[in-house]
């Protein structure tokens, strides 16, 4: 990987003083990646692309949106009706958020399956969890902005969670609202924060990439790069592979935007916010539903601690537990491919998350209450009991000697290429 020599005099002049082109060349062109990355490794760059799409469409939407309780709903409808291609911007933004969460969830599950959070990538993982942690409130704030029924009532329910904090709860929630109710001050600051947070996410995404490029990507075998035979330059190999992945994602995204733009939106958000009428069923966007299910799973007080507080703590803990995963999982083997037991528990965990999502989407009554509680209990059991125990007692399969040996046809060990 020699430092490139720049022929263009302008680039040469700049690069001599600020080696930004050399830096980009090193990180995006020469950057050595394992040669066996599957399409599961495309979701990180897809999420990044969607983040950029969201920021750009968001800036254009903000140019036409009015954060005022009397005008917000109508201003969104003006965007839909009177702004040139305003409907396209809005549908790209709204569904882009869903696509972003699809991508980061696949990205996280890939990390869980292939053990990408393990040494030396613990910080990389933690920065990723931080991105998830900030992306969720960002999306929620955006959901509030159109000021439809679901916007208003979701804002009321979610901000009221702050009242669960002992002693200062009520003061805290009023400080959040800027008022004694969810009102104009609330909408104004939600707009400001919704505009601010994505730039924090962009900053974290930069750190995420930086940390990634130190030790390069993990790979489906979960073994380290042993030498040049295991590596290929990012460009053209992974630019081409990610390019195809991007094409497939864009097809799905555009089919939703152009033909089913409201498929993922609750119909009640086309009714203007009305503080006097509570919708029969208040739901967040689909991507928050598993966490909503954890929140509502706690229906019982424990000693003097009220159920609501435990619910809020459980919801926060369901994400916080991810921060500790690199130390909860003691297994030296990264990839589930060589961990026969972990592999099965991984899929049970995926199923558990889907069950939580379904429970979150349904009213907390009847059978959904015990199912939600069982699924919540299992969620934490997975991380706090199953993963630590497997790490110690599971007998992993033999690891291949090198990536190259394992994936190249006739590479020596006779293992199946993957």
């Amino acid at each position: 990987m020699a430092t490139p020599t720049w022929k263009n005099p302008v680039i040469k002049w700049i690069d001599y003083r600020l080696p930004i082109f050399t830096f980009m060349h090193g990180e995006l062109v020469d950057y050595p990646a394992p040669k066996n990355l599957s399409y599961w490794w495309a979701f990180g760059s897809l999420a990044g692309t969607l983040l950029v799409i969201l920021v750009l469409t968001g800036i254009l939407l903000a140019a036409n949106y009015t954060p005022n309780v009397d005008l917000a709903f109508v201003s969104v409808e003006r965007i839909m009706r009177d702004v040139n291609y305003g409907w396209l911007l809005r549908y790209l933004h709204m569904n882009g958020a869903s696509m972003y969460f699809i991508c980061i969830y696949f990205h996280i599950l890939r990390g869980l399956y292939y053990g990408s959070y393990k040494r030396p990538r613990e910080l990389l993982w933690i920065i990723g969890v931080l991105i998830l942690l900030i992306s969720m409130p960002t999306a929620f704030l955006g959901y509030v902005l159109p000021w439809g029924q679901m916007s208003y009532w979701a804002a009321t329910v979610i901000t009221s969670l702050a009242t669960a904090v002992p002693v200062i709860g009520q003061d805290l929630v009023e400080w959040l609202w800027g008022d004694f109710v969810v009102g104009n001050a609330t909408l104004n600051r939600f707009f400001a924060w919704h505009y601010l947070f994505p730039f924090i996410i962009l900053g974290l995404a930069f750190l995420h990439l930086w940390a990634l490029h130190v030790h390069s990507s993990n790979n489906p075998l979960g073994i380290d790069i042993k030498g040049p035979q295991d590596k290929i330059p990012f460009h053209p190999y992974y630019t081409a592979k990610d390019g195809f992945g991007l094409g497939v994602m864009m097809i799905v995204y555009m089919v939703i935007v152009f033909f089913f733009p409201n498929f993922l939106l609750d119909v009640a958000n086309y009714i203007p916010a009305n503080p006097m009428v509570t919708p029969t069923h208040i739901v967040p966007e689909w991507y928050l539903m598993p966490f909503y299910a954890v929140l509502r799973a706690i229906t019982f007080d424990i000693w003097f601690i009220p159920a609501k507080l435990i619910g809020v703590v459980a919801m926060l803990a369901s994400i916080a537990v991810l921060f500790f995963l690199p130390w909860l999982d003691r297994s030296p083997v990264r990839s589930a491919k060589f961990r026969p037991l972990y592999k099965q528990f991984f899929w049970i965990f995926v199923l558990d998350c889907i069950v939580l999502g379904i429970v979150g989407a349904n009213p907390p009554e009847g059978i959904f209450i015990p199912i939600g509680q069982a699924a919540t209990a299992y969620y934490f059991t997975h991380f706090l009991v199953i993963v630590p125990i497997l790490g110690v007692f599971e007998k992993p399969k033999a690891l291949p000697n090198s990536i190259s040996e394992a994936v190249t046809a006739g590479g020596g060990s006779g293992k199946e290429a993957n």
Binding site: M254, V257, K308
Partner: protein
């Protein structure tokens, strides 16, 4: 807000199952001219639907998000739109002296312009409720997008009135029985029946035809961008399919020396 009100509200919201009303019948799926990704609004139905809105619905329901100029998009000519707009009176003033009311004590009014949004039947919510025995007729601009099953629901609702109230159901005063309405008791009477309006184009004025036409019109008011959206979408998706196929070929070519 007092603390106990807040906590009650949160408790209610968290338990979410707030007094779910009597079960409404699932509306049967209908065939709509604008269903498929290649399909557009039936122009005849749009115009007939506009006629029904003007002659029937607009007595109680506003259409605040739609402007008269938008009617150009469904086939009305410019002079027609001007005439339709000029038919309504909209609030005017203040004049140059700062007066808002004439000597007769009435507010200044002027004829509508194509740039005006549809005039609402009532000046405010209170006036609307006062004229409708306490019920508030909702704005119809987004009605189709604001209900589960959208057009199918509104069609079923408009054709779902029943004179015979099922046994054991106590109909409240001023309510009408409708099996598709959540709770089955609606404050809106059966406004559409056979021959509710007389069609200029000679279409047979049945209840079903009326319902079909008004639903088509309201689907347009809810999604005026639908036709442009679908036609652009087909081009975008076709482009992406070709591009992605080529990207796949490029990927195969580039990776071929590794395998």
């Amino acid at each position: 807000m007092p603390r106990f009100v807040m906590s009650t509200l949160v408790a209610l919201a968290l338990s979410a199952g707030v007094a779910v009303a009597a079960e409404a019948t699932e509306p049967p799926a209908q065939d709509w001219s604008f269903d498929g990704i290649f399909e557009t609004f039936d122009r005849g139905a749009l115009k007939r639907g506009f006629q029904i809105y003007s002659e029937v619905c607009s007595t109680c329901h506003s259409l605040r998000l739609v402007a008269y100029r938008n009617l150009r998009d469904i086939g009305f000519s410019e002079p027609e739109v001007k005439a339709i707009a000029a038919d309504v009176e909209v609030l005017d003033g203040p004049n140059e002296e700062g007066e808002t009311h004439g000597e007769d004590g009435m507010p200044f009014m002027r004829p509508g312009l194509p740039s005006d949004r549809f005039a609402s039947p009532f000046a405010n919510e209170q006036a609307a409720r006062a004229s409708n025995s306490g019920a508030l007729p909702p704005d119809l601009s987004l009605m189709i997008k604001a209900r589960e099953h959208g057009p199918d629901y509104v069609y079923a609702f408009l054709t779902g009135y029943q004179d015979e109230v099922p046994e054991g159901v106590e109909l409240a005063d001023g309510r009408f029985y409708n099996r598709y309405f959540p709770g089955n008791q609606t404050s809106m009477g059966p406004m559409l029946g056979d021959e509710a309006v007389e069609y200029a184009d000679g279409t047979k004025p049945t209840l079903e035809q009326h319902a079909r036409d008004i639903v088509t019109f309201l689907s347009w008011t809810a999604e005026p961008e639908m036709e442009e959206r679908k036609s652009l979408g087909i081009k975008v998706v076709l482009f992406l399919v070709v591009l992605t196929a080529m990207l796949y070929a490029v990927k195969r070519k580039i990776w071929s020396d590794l395998h």
